[in-house]
């Protein structure tokens, strides 16, 4: 029995279909992320799980029990779901102290005083808030407010924790710290996490599995590395990291970039036809000495000539824009690695490539 099960879940706002027939199972103790650009439907899905939005179609089950169902015309209000939730804007109550904020869900449930004290102390200790438990949130920093929201959510030891872009209001350094704290809390208490974010690095670092969404439709579900290495389509490829998409012609599995006469890569799948798109990460391209490029055996990977149009330093990375045939592409190298200067001609080799059909149907 899955912890969380979504069956054909659909939500419409007027004419717009915010979430379209979403199917998903999340297992107990899993940390699962919803990743996608803003407006893709990930927050709507989370709010349907939380119970703030009703489903237009479909069913939501938690540990086998129906929580929302359009078929049975049933919906369990959010306060009866026993979930923990952390909001993007933290939503800590400014008129209550840190302690009172964290104790609130327990008070609502009329737990005995000793249990409340115990659980609040546990939550505050795990989030490092014990020292400031009597302060009002208004005077505290963003990171501290975020921890209050976390402590409040874990206080009742929820079946499922719902986190809605919890780190996007924090600065970069704090974001990284909090990421580890959330992961550590999950390891300690073992609850299931549903985590919504538009930041792929965050999703990669935290999740056991993740889901990439666009326009209300699931694009891919899988483990982070799986999605990184085998993106199901061009949308996922470009969303998950920096990307180059090069239009190519294919003959007998060998691809030529438009405007060049050299083979750029081999091994294109046969079902693509004569036209396709070659996808490659900027870090997966290497420079090849001219001699090797021209005398390379047919077994080794081919190389194509290019021209460095622009060269910029991004800290310890050199970012270059190259013109290859009619196409332009980005290459990134470590500063210490050898790379051509601006205006120089060079040869490049694609180390890892992925193939996509030229016309990708909009899913």
């Amino acid at each position: 029995m899955s912890q969380l099960e979504l069956i054909d879940v659909t939500k419409r706002f007027g004419e717009v279909t915010a979430v379209n027939r979403l199917n998903l199972r999340v297992e107990k103790g899993e940390c699962f992320s919803f990743l996608g650009p803003s407006g893709c439907g990930k927050t709507t899905t989370l709010r349907m799980i939380a119970g703030f939005e009703d489903l237009d179609e479909g069913e939501l089950k938690v540990e086998g029990s129906v929580y929302s169902s359009s078929y049975k015309k049933f919906y369990l209000p959010p306060e009866k779901r026993d979930f923990g939730m952390v909001f993007q804007a933290f939503a800590v109550w400014p008129h209550l102290t840190v302690r009172e904020n964290v104790a609130f869900p327990l008070r609502i449930r009329h737990r005995p005083k000793h249990e409340i004290d115990e659980r609040v102390k546990m939550a505050l200790t795990s989030t490092n808030l014990l020292k400031i438990q009597d302060s009002y949130p208004g005077r505290l920093s963003g990171g501290e407010q975020q921890r209050i929201a976390l402590a409040r959510a874990i206080a009742i030891n929820p079946k499922v924790m719902l986190l809605d872009e919890p780190l996007s209001n924090l600065d970069a350094k704090l974001r990284e710290e909090m990421r580890f704290e959330i992961k550590a809390l999950q390891k300690k208490f073992g609850f299931t996490i549903i985590y919504v974010t538009h930041d792929q690095a965050e999703a990669m670092a935290l999740s056991d599995r993740m889901l990439v969404m666009s326009n209300g439709v699931v694009q891919q579900v899988g483990k982070p590395l799986e999605i990184y290495h085998k993106p199901a389509n061009r949308f996922v490829f470009s969303f998950i990291g920096l990307s180059n998409f090069l239009p190519v012609s294919i003959r007998e599995g060998a691809a030529t970039i438009d405007g060049t006469d050299r083979i750029a890569a081999r091994g294109a799948p046969g079902d693509l036809g004569s036209r396709a798109v070659l996808a490659c990460r900027p870090s997966d391209i290497s420079f090849v000495p001219q001699s090797e490029a021209e005398h390379g055996s047919s077994e080794s990977k081919p190389a194509v000539p290019g021209l460095v149009v622009r060269r910029t330093y991004l800290g310890d990375i050199v970012d270059m824009k190259l013109k290859v045939g009619n196409a332009e592409l980005r290459v990134q190298k470590h500063v210490k690695a050898a790379s051509p200067r601006e205006g120089e001609r060079c040869f490049i080799r694609f180390n890892t490539v992925l193939w996509y059909p030229e016309e990708e149907r909009n899913r």
């Binding site: 703030f52 959010p78 306060e79 979930f83 009002y136 407010q145």
Partner: protein, 576 residues
Amino acid sequence: MTATLAEKKKLDVSKIVLLFSILILVVIVAVPVLLILITAFFENGKFNIAGVAKILSDPDTYQALLNSLVIAAGTTVVSTIMGTFFAWLVARTDLPFKNTMKALFLVPFMLPSFIGALAWKVLLSPRSGYINKLLMAIFGLERAPFDIMSLGGIIAIESMYLFPFVFLQVAGALERMDPTLEESARISGADLFTITRKITLPLVMPSILAGALLVALYSLSHFGVPAILGTEKGIFNIPTKIYERIYSSGGSFGAIRVGTILSTILVISAALILKLQDMLLKKGQYQVIAGKSMRPVVLKLRGLKYPLLAISIIYIGITVILPTITIFLVGGLKTYGLPFQLKYMTLDNYLKIFQWKITKDAIWNSIYLSVGAAFVTMLAGTMISYVIVKMKFRGKFILQFLGVLPFSLPGTVIALGVILAWSGRFGINLYNTPWIIFVAYIARYMAFAIKSSSASLSQVSDSLEEAGRACGATHWQSLKDIVLPLIRPGMVSAFFLILLPALRELTTSVLLYGPTTRTIGVAIYTLNEDGETVKAAALASIALIIIFVGETSIRKFLAKLEQRAAKVEEIKNVPA
């Protein structure tokens, strides 16, 4: 799980709140307005537009319409010019004692304009005005140099007490305006005069016009000043005409029908004015609001600095201090008309105010009616705003419409509507009881309550309430434990925002009072009408003391409340 299957159908808090809100708005606002429209346009059950036209073209009512228009237009122009000038002086020049001056320019708000009119009538009436008599004696004039009891006089007095509407709007806009807008014009080579003309003025124009429209709205349906200065000379505007018709005919249906037709015109004009204002403010908002804590370009007044300061102080002296002193002095005269000399003065009048039935009743009536109405209106307004701001449901626009309706209902119209609805037509007759005034006050101040609560509610981010639900609180619990504590300061200030004007209300009460249900405003007005000017002035003095003490202490209290709320505010509206 099956036990909770009924969850969806249960009558929950949100439905109860919604039903109550609709009920209140319909009973308090929609029914009276509908009755006014029906009475105006239907005669003996038949639609009768010819009858409406006939009444409107009657020279008597036609003249009242025209006067209302002239008074409103004149007052608007004068108030706008003065309000804008003083706002600019305070916000954009190096006038000395700016903050004090800014506070002083708002003092005219505290003086109820009908009390001001009363004072000016004492000073400048053509026959017995003290200043007129003085000037005639000094210069040996045959005729009084000033006649305050004229259209011009009414416009002058209304402007004196209404210009703060424009002042507040414009000063606010000038202070919020991004100074870099002006600085960039300066860098481009424009001098201060050009900048004021080409940059500053166009940018604050929406605020100037919004303030002007507020004055127009108020003046169009204002009773006090025209009643005190005009009635005696046969100068009527719409509200005073309605009052005159109804009282001279003893509340006959014919008179009420004329009243409803004139009211319809008031409602339509008010709605148009509000629509215009809304459009203007929307247009103005994004242009003006910008960074804070930057220093705006300030015009150096140089040699004009002290003369302008003197003019401002003299202006306030003439409009506020002189009338106040006059009222206190007249209230202390043994008989009206005697010169202000110590041997003719007495404290008796002031002491009698608290013994004499009419005035004693009036003070007590005003206090309990305003406190009661403020409390009820505040609660109802909060509930209605919650529905409008926070709830999502089909057909919400109807409620939104009903919610803005009170804004466009002038006091006279509310009084008429209440008379039509609560004089037994639906089996309840409140006429001649304090309850009819109570109901009218709720309708009259509902707009204040909705405005104030909506403002504080929209600052409470939805996620605060949702966090409560996610923590296991029911809708009702999260309202009680989270939303209410957060908007409590807003509710308290709404209470006082209603209480203070209700204490001095005249326009609505004057159409509704019965023998024992005079309010302070009504008592002052009727005493003066009956020739008891001294008693009227004495009561007015007491009213001024109550208002002044009330305003200052409440403002201090509200400022403290705001300070305490400020720390809460910091995180109430984190960007989502």
